[in-house]
Homo-oligomer: 311 residues x 6
């Protein structure tokens, strides 16, 4: 049972993420808890009347077990909570019921990424990629690629990267005479790895904020720094190290989109396009499923325009 | 023998394109002909002393047979012409020695384009594509895709389009759930067809100017108009006709790059990226071969930056 | 009696347009209807207590007869509805009481437009104009020129076009040596005709949305397409057809304001200025009447600034 | 006889403006004078062999009497001067043969300006206009409106202003309900008056440079300052003085085009459009006469585009 | 006692500024007064039940004595007013408790400004400065430098200007060879003086609006006009007057930030930087005190970014 | 004796830098050497007739001893070389006669920089600064700060940095409550250190090109990388390391001016202003000395405007 499937009047019991938690007092002086309960389908305002604790703002983003009734207040759904407690280690619930998860087989995708790396001709770039996977492989499989805009779900970074690797592989063959395939694949694999450090990720795997380091340095520079460090560790020639750093530093394409330098070789140029294409196609995918065929969406912030679902 | 292979002092005889033709008079009152002789390798200033005609500005862009000596004037090469006459129908010379030609097998590429069209699932878009090939197939195979920027050689439009079709085919599978493959392929095939009408093409197949109609309407609008007309002729449903026109009208991506409307469906979005990628990769290809490995190019106008040849 | 003239406590009966219709339920489980009632003067929130139908969202934008009392809720006016039913064909009410209408004699304005067309020296442009009027004259007289920004009322397109024709007539004489008067007048008359197809217009004549075709192609391209078609039908020389299409395609002046091509002849340049002037003067007119003399307006979105009423 | 009508080999005698004057020495050590001779039709390089003075750089922009022969050097015309001396007060030549002059009857135009001012309803604005004419009427009739871009000829400011007054008059009637006709006419008359102080004008009436004051303050601010001063002198009410100053300060429309403030009343808005229209129409006029019918101009710097002469 | 220190349930009596005053009626028809009470610490919504006057919208921005209880409504603080009356001349309260005041000794700062002026080497610029202080010294000490963005408190203009004078003094010595110290100091002192005329200031010294004159001319142009007038009065040489006017007209640095002309001498260039630095440092100061060390602010509108408090 | 002091006809002997070297052949087949001879005052074209070597393009940028005569060719100075040979280690000439050198005592400036560092309160930032000086102090004293724009002379980086440190010191006291003085001073000292690695510097100390690494990574990122490395080496706390890197990465202020991230703390904000001020003041200094008092410069590329020398 998902929140989005409940009707006004339905009673239910289940596990939900608590958000926007406030301990308040009614006009008549009685304490109550106002919060929102969320699962992967939607978020609903909730009220726990005559409630003085222990749940409070410190439980933001954690899972609670709730028994309640779905009601309506001013035209919007609202939960009247009858019983509530925080979930414990003993509780059995499924993560993917609570937070959105990439619509793909994550293990298969990761295996495919690894096998593409194995085909890289250049031993230096290959070694760098393997070292990065060794260091960060587990988190790479898990974290979202963004707070919201696109791929904002568990496994988002893996999904984004693995799709991009497919396109990089294809284009490195189409434009083979001018593309160093290993460089393009390495840059593609690593381009967003530093997002792991740029984001603050909640217990449940969602991005909640940007880290201090992430905001003051940015994932482009952080990624280039780790690439430089790994290259030095593995005795990769300076020229290759610089090219790989250049891929990461320039992958946003234009300074006004955050690139620290503009792409100055064909592989860096391609990487910025491949990144853009996958981001935009995912934005279309996430939005098209909410648009009635034959109609237009409202203005989509990340695209700065409305889009059409031709069905 | 190509102009670029001649040394100062070399005598030669051959066929060349005449450019920048002027009938002038020396300080001492003697008539002479100043012009440039060009083949596919380079263009060299030429002087025909004591020459009063018949060759003159009306022969601009035509082929002449020249016997002369390569000299140097102020550090630049210059041809002293000993004999000159316009080429006639009886003369045997090879077009590809005189003008740059796409570095590919044009017949094979055209056949590949045709076979991709044959795989289109949607009978309407397929019929439109076939009608366009029937109408314009021959010129499509021949004309350049631009005056200079990129693909500015015989067969350039075919080369540009066939590479783009490969990528369109690939991406239509990668993003299959949200892409109408037939629509994407049809838009890709037809996106620049109206360039045939936008350009004025010389006898030798090079773009010399833009046509009046081409400048006042633009190839996006002209392409959409013919698409609309063909769709009506073939009884293609209005909805499909509009989508196909939208693909052509929006393929420059942004108004400031010439798009008449912004892309509003996933296929149109992809088309503008595929177009950009192929244009840029070709600019890299054409420039990288002039850059010493390990060095940077001068500023490239079309890219608004310098690029690096990592060799 | 208009909504804007009612005081808190006033009872009234009248015809109004229903908007934003929702069938809701109170906390105590009773059904009620929430909607807004609008006439040409303003829009007011309304509540029909203990009401379960038949009126519902499907009646959006239609006319209903309402008997009610004007009240106040949280500082804003609100109607307590006592009786409500949808209007029928038998009901007698005046359209101009319900929707805003151009402040001019529409028949006279239309006659004036026709007589200006009759003075055109060029028989081809004249024939094209007459054919457009024959095809679309009735709707041309009726529809608004926009959803809101300016001329967003019944007869708006006619008002906008007829004012512009006056200015075009004047400037074609002032700059006679470089202006083809017939071309300027034809472009001016036809520049926004395709808005008829770009908008979705409600039963009551107001613009409610943009059509799919309108959004995917835009009224500039649609207008040019019909102009091309009519020119072909009437055997207008190609050169004139292209110029007329160019007028329509370029009349927004700059790509970033939606022009498919930039104006490249003096008539097209003038048309874009004439369009802008009339649009801006109408925005001033509509806003000045809301501003106290000697004071400034709030920021006006369409002008990106505040304006001053010097009284 | 004009320079543009001379053929190679023609001998001639006449008055010309000297430009770009340099006293030089040949390789063999002989002094000669290099300069350019200009009349209203064109400018031609000239050489005076074996010439040691007295003419030199100090005579820049002045008139000389020249006897010479038209020759050709490296494909460009060049004058071989046989005799040369500076013109004196006794010499009879016609200014309009030497510098370009507005193609209109300047006295009639000035009279028309005066008569329009006489029709102004508002006595204050009228008095201000008359005072400005009294102070600057003579120079107003004479100076160009620009160094080159448009109206860069004797009488240019008068021509520009008188055309604009026609349009202002027309639009003040079309939009009568929201336009204070006197304010619009006054702003139009005075908008560029301070150019008289912004330019440095040569003996022959052409703009040679911008004055220090002109560059540091700009003609918008200088115009507003004199308007404020004249208003105070004539006891014009503060409110009217401020509005008139606002017209002058904002007439470039946008900050990036030099407006000190953006137009905030309908009259100021109109003025900036009227100014633009007349400037652009004059740029078209000056360029169209150089373009073959049916062809495009080269890129015109002031318009940032090519234009088409449809003949 | 400040509003920000009160807890829910606290009773209090004090003087507050009234804002957003509305005389309303409850659902049951009883009149009441809704307003906000503000002091220098915060603003709180307030309700006076069963109240029919005399206090009403005309008292906006004035001081009232209020006896009430702090309550909470929908999670936000709200005052239940028990007694209220407007303050009279006899009431003793401290202005700095009610409105924010510059965190500095204003008399000392003003004295320091005067003593810096006394050190100016150039007698003309010095005389102009002294005349401006003589005319406007009192208001200069009192008014804010802005409505909100930065220095939006009593004494704000003095604080802003005196900090800038310190920096101007320092930089005039560091770059002594190219800086006219007197010109830089004079421009700095006077750059915002016309804000006194640009703002409408409330009884309590806060900026409530922009004046008509202020909006139509701007403080740059108004300042330059008064500078020109004072220079003429004091027989300052024209060249110095123009330079000083240029300083004021250009101090926003770029046309898009409101500069009437761009800075064209080193002093004007410096002034625009000094102005920017002090404005930005004050925005940081005002915001940093609201940010927890080690965290980021929300997006700050005036900076178009978030900022970090490193503690 | 400097080149700029020679008159036509003067004979001279001296040391000069060779530039733009070409081994050419006359029309009559005789070899000659064309090059330019430069000293700190200017660069003059030179010809060595009947010269077949050994000097050639490989000697670009090196010093030669030349005996010759100053002549004039087409109005420009030209040297007729009589004797030429490359300089050897035994030759005694003064560097500052050949290349421009900072107009300051470099040893004193360096000592002052060191003493400011010694006053830093924070031991970590101080240690980082000292380590950077230890590593790069010598080159820091020598290299220019740019190829041309400003400070393009020997010692330019030291001059730029030492002036900035003065201003940083001053502003850190003026805005003491919100500025960490040590952080600001450290960021100021190190902000351009990586230019040493970004430039390719000639034997004579002038910037000839950008290095590959410099162009692909940029001096902002390279500087931050070395700062990170040094911080790790010296066990500087992570928080301080990140702040220092942020200073370097953001010191260009805006992405479009090359900042990898925007400044997000007050010290980074100040640094970008201090950098700008010193750069602009130096551009003024270098240009003002070429402008006649009371006149304007031609358009200065780096400032995008003309400037005025008020003398």
């Amino acid at each position: 049972m998902r929140l989005s499937e409940l009707q006004v009047g339905d009673s239910f019991t289940g596990f939900f993420i608590l958000k926007n938690i406030r301990n308040l007092v009614t006009n008549t002086g009685k304490p109550y808890l106002a919060c929102a309960a969320a699962d992967a389908s939607m978020m609903v305002e909730a009220k726990v009347w005559d409630y003085a604790g222990p749940i409070g703002p410190a439980d933001e983003g954690k899972v609670a077990k709730i028994q309640g009734v779905m009601q309506e207040f001013k035209g919007a759904p609202q939960i009247k909570v009858e019983r509530i407690r925080m979930a414990s280690a003993q509780d059995a619930y499924d993560l993917s019921d609570l937070v959105p998860v990439a619509p793909m087989d994550r293990d298969a995708a990761y295996a495919r990424v690894e096998s593409v790396i194995q085909t890289m001709e250049d031993p230096d770039y290959k070694a760098v990629c393997l070292e990065f996977l060794r260091r960060h492989g587990d988190r790479f499989k898990a974290i979202p690629a963004a707070k919201s805009v696109h791929h904002g779900f568990v496994g988002g970074l893996l999904m984004h990267t693995s799709y991009m690797l497919e396109t990089a592989e294809f284009l490195s063959r189409l434009y083979a005479p001018i593309i160093d395939r290993s460089l393009l694949l390495a840059g593609t694999l690593l381009h967003d790895f530093a997002k792991m450090e740029e984001f603050t990720v909640s217990e449940l795997g969602m991005v909640t904020e940007y880290s201090t380091r992430g905001q003051l340095l940015g994932h482009l520079v952080m990624g280039a720094q780790e690439a430089a460090e790994v290259c030095k560790l593995l005795d990769v020639p300076e020229q290759k190290s610089v090219l790989l750093q250049h891929m990461l530093l320039s992958h946003h394409g234009q300074p006004e989109y955050g690139a620290a330098v503009v792409p100055m070789c064909a592989e860096a140029e391609l990487l910025s396009y491949i990144d853009n294409i996958d981001a935009r196609m995912e934005i279309y995918r996430e939005n098209l499923e909410k648009i009635e065929p034959g109609t237009f969406s409202p203005r989509i912030f990340a695209l700065e325009k409305r889009i059409y679902n031709h069905g």
